[in-house]
Amino acid sequence: MATSAELKETIQSALPGASVEVESPDDVHFTARVVSDRFAGMSRVQQHQLVMGLFDGRLGGEIHALSLKTETP
């Protein structure tokens, strides 16, 4: 079972210095807001691909949905 805290930690360790908020009503559907300077120069699709790639193989499975909002500081 995934948890918001675990998702947040995974994102934060992959994107040091990022501001990450993760919420979930049920530990299956997640909403994350990630602000990172690593996103600079990337398209929105690339930004989302970067974050979703951290959960390779789990999205669509135990993480049914990860709703994302990515921004640069």
Binding site: H48, M52, G53, F55, G60, L66, L68, K69
Partner: protein, 135 residues
Amino acid sequence: MSEQTSNPIRDAISQAIEQNRVILFMKGTPDQPMCGFSARTAAALQSLDTPFAAVDILPDPRIRQELSALSNWPTIPQLFVDGELVGGADIVAEMYESGELAQALGVEQPDEAPAAAPAGADPAPAPLGIENRLS
């Protein structure tokens, strides 16, 4: 995964993306979406009064596998415009609200009477090539 010789499903998906300027891969159909994310994304397109092709990925799990492998995008829905992945439900919603989606599609953002019947917004029929190959 390792076979690059013959992959009819992936080829059919690539072709569908090439041949349809606006194409949405979703769960269910625009008229009968099977997932809230797919429903919202299809509704955004419909409200822009632009024709789009829609592919239901549910009939065969291989469609989704091959699509995600091709697009490097793990979830459904996925919207492609002019052969390029525009994004999933979140990005399409953001772009719809900001007017970027209308811009990308080359249509007018409906700024009034959004509740009016979206005449002519019927989606184009799904590219049957994909479904035919799987039946």
